[in-house]
Symmetry: C2
Subunit: 422 residues, 2 copies
């Protein structure tokens, strides 16, 4: 048997173990899953020395191979970051268990009673890159929703992920749940990702990718099972004619500059012609002073000095301290711009005009639409989901931050008294 065959056997066996564990995790009580999550948090804290030692190896290797500092920063753990990971697991433990929740309940004229009840999706395949915290966050959310998970991290974080998962699996055993509820793909062969995207012989119900554009492109191309995809976040802040000046400035500045590398960062500022002369210069100065490059259309550039925005700018997710600025005639043009150039991720309107706000929230077809709040709230933690396993930009099943509830599906329970169908 050559190496690829060996890998195939190992991968399929991994999938079978995940599927076998899924029934026990699904049928466990909510209390049992909660107990396991508390044990996970405790054991992650107890294993801090081992996890930090493993992480130091990953960081050394990354430095030796000349990785960029931004990469090292995503990879590196310290006591504080590890505590944040453990606390995150406790927040998930405190979330209501979604399994078994009744989301609809009705009775038909023939006496049949129908209930739609949340059930776990089953087996989640998580493909991520260098951030080791994803292993703990994703495992906790998967377990909260009664799922099992197969983790495939980047080779660069392999030692860290192995140490984190060892702590998690010990916690599962302690709670009398199968340790195979959380498994790691150990081979670094890229073919393993292909097997996961093909569903691992029917063992994987959904793939959740978290990573850069090349990973996303590969998933789009190869996946034969459902995917919670995260594409771009070309997010807009729209300053309406009825905006409060201070709120407009605060929300534009925070939306763009709080963190420029997150998917919920504002990339384009739209501002109504009626208030542009009054509000744009101050907003532009504040952004500029914070280190942001401004690129505007002709109307914006007549009001305040900035670079030229071309057609490509409206379609660009900068993930950098750059913002494109366009003056619009009014709310309809703003909504049209967002429909034409946006990525249906997150958009915010700043206005004191309730009708305009309602129209914007209703007509803009994005996963998250905000009124008088920063686009940077596009985050599962800020939604109260106790973290997120990712943000979905697709329209099916999950949309926006994916928390435990979005990791469930449902079934119909139907209770009768002997009914047959005429």
């Amino acid at each position: 048997m050559n190496l690829p065959d060996q890998m195939l056997v190992e991968m399929l066996s991994l999938g079978q173990r995940a599927r076998a564990a899924a029934k026990a995790v699904r049928d466990a009580s909510a209390d049992q899953r909660t107990t396991a999550l508390h044990a996970m948090a405790r054991r992650l804290r107890d294993a801090a020395p081992a996890i930090l030692t493993a992480n130091a190896k990953d960081v050394d290797a990354a430095r030796t191979s000349g990785k960029a500092e931004s990469f090292i920063d995503r990879l590196a753990l310290d006591a504080k970051r590890l505590e944040a990971i453990a606390s995150g697991v406790e927040i998930v433990a405190a979330q209501p268990d979604p399994v078994g929740a009744v989301t609809a309940d009705w009775t038909q004229p023939n006496g049949l009673r129908f209930q739609r009840v949340r059930t776990p999706i089953g087996v989640i395949g998580m493909i991520f890159e260098s951030r080791p915290n994803v292993a703990a966050d994703a495992s906790a959310l998967a377990l909260r929703a009664g799922n099992t998970i197969i983790l495939r991290g980047g080779a660069d974080s392999a030692e860290s992920v192995a140490a984190i998962v060892a702590a998690i699996r010990a916690a599962l055993r302690e709670a009398n749940l199968p340790e195979d509820a959380v498994q790691v793909v150990e081979t670094t062969d890229r073919a393993a990702v292909g097997l996961m995207l093909a569903g691992l012989g029917g063992a994987i119900d959904v793939i959740i990718p978290r990573g850069g554009k090349s990973l996303v492109a590969r998933v789009q191309e190869e996946a034969r099972v459902p995917v919670f995809a995260h594409l771009e976040g070309i997010c807009h802040t729209y300053v309406h004619a009825g905006a409060d000046a201070q709120k407009a400035l605060d929300i534009a500045l925070n939306g763009k500059m709080r963190r420029v590398s997150v998917c919920g960062a504002t990339e384009t500022l739209l501002i109504d012609q009626a208030v542009a002369a009054k509000l744009l210069p101050d907003i532009a100065t504040a952004l500029s002073n914070a280190g942001c490059e401004l690129r505007g259309d002709d109307a914006a550039r007549r009001l305040t000095p900035m670079n030229v925005a071309d057609e490509d700018d409206w379609r660009t997710e900068y993930l950098a301290p750059i913002i494109s600025i366009r003056v619009v005639a009014g709310i309809d043009e703003a909504i049209q711009h967002i429909a034409a150039y946006g990525s249906q991720h997150t958009e915010s309107i700043v206005t004191e005009d309730q009708d305009a706000a309602d129209k914007f929230l209703r007509e803009v077809d994005s996963a998250i639409v905000l009124h008088n709040a920063s686009t940077q709230f596009a985050d599962g933690g800020e939604f109260g989901f106790g973290g997120e396993i990712g943000i979905a930009t697709g329209r099916m099943h999950a949309r926006g931050p994916v928390g435990a509830e979005q990791l469930t599906t449902f079934k119909y329970m139907v209770r009768g008294s002997g009914q047959t169908r005429p």
Copy 2:
């Protein structure tokens, strides 16, 4: 320009028109969609002569080409069937409009108010075979949920579908909605299906196939967009030790024999050892008298004469008057059998024991789990959905009968008062 290029241009243009129409249908009021649905029902009735003439052409062509009677039966319309189609559209018109329904509403400590609101999926691609009624049923449900639809029927029903869709588009115009909310792919080139499965240049949000195994296989293989797939319905009726004898007989007989060709038909009967000797002979006789072939395991064959069931029988969706019968030790073995051989479609337990019923409904991981009712209730109409666009056997987004509610997605509306993220 050669023919395939011409087809590509036409198909992409079809997709763009569907996408363009989607905003108007989405932003229309519920009343406007209801008005359009009532107009559809009326115009389908008014167009009865034209539709029946068109259908007669399809039926003649099918007869000439030697199609089987069962095929002709699926294809043929008469006044009664057409009235049933129009009535079905009226039932959908009477359904609550799901768009805008708030399914969750909470406020975070920072004062941000979150609402999860149902929104249309967008553009539905419907691929079906010979039943012309699907064109009307699917268009009505798509419109109820604020979607537009692209229909691709089989070449055999082309005249019928064209006549039905002409009536539907006239109704849309009458209600001031874009007629391109419902469109038909006119080319019979199979490559058109491939273009739809690839998403028609980003214009299609979800594919719903309704047809035989070769269509399903092609969709599974080629689809690059989400699919509400319908695979097999290997449905089980389980007679528990605590079953009422009369209910067991009625439910087994109805579950199998009411209509043997539907996906909710029972294919395997499981019966507890404790009651098999008492109940199985009568059930077997009733099935046999109704024209059903029996195939049993050794234990069943010791109790009543029948053919031998082999391993393949447990995995077979007969869609024919044949039933496989297995005697099980108890509820755990029944649940295990269903997990091992079932297709997670529809299963029923017959028992007067409430604990056993609850365990079965909780632990069996199928889209529909019933207690003391026939598996033939697996139908959107019976669920009160006013029809169904299909039954989904996948686990993502929609599961079981797909009505208007399952043709929606959601977005988060977030209302603030100037919040920025720390």
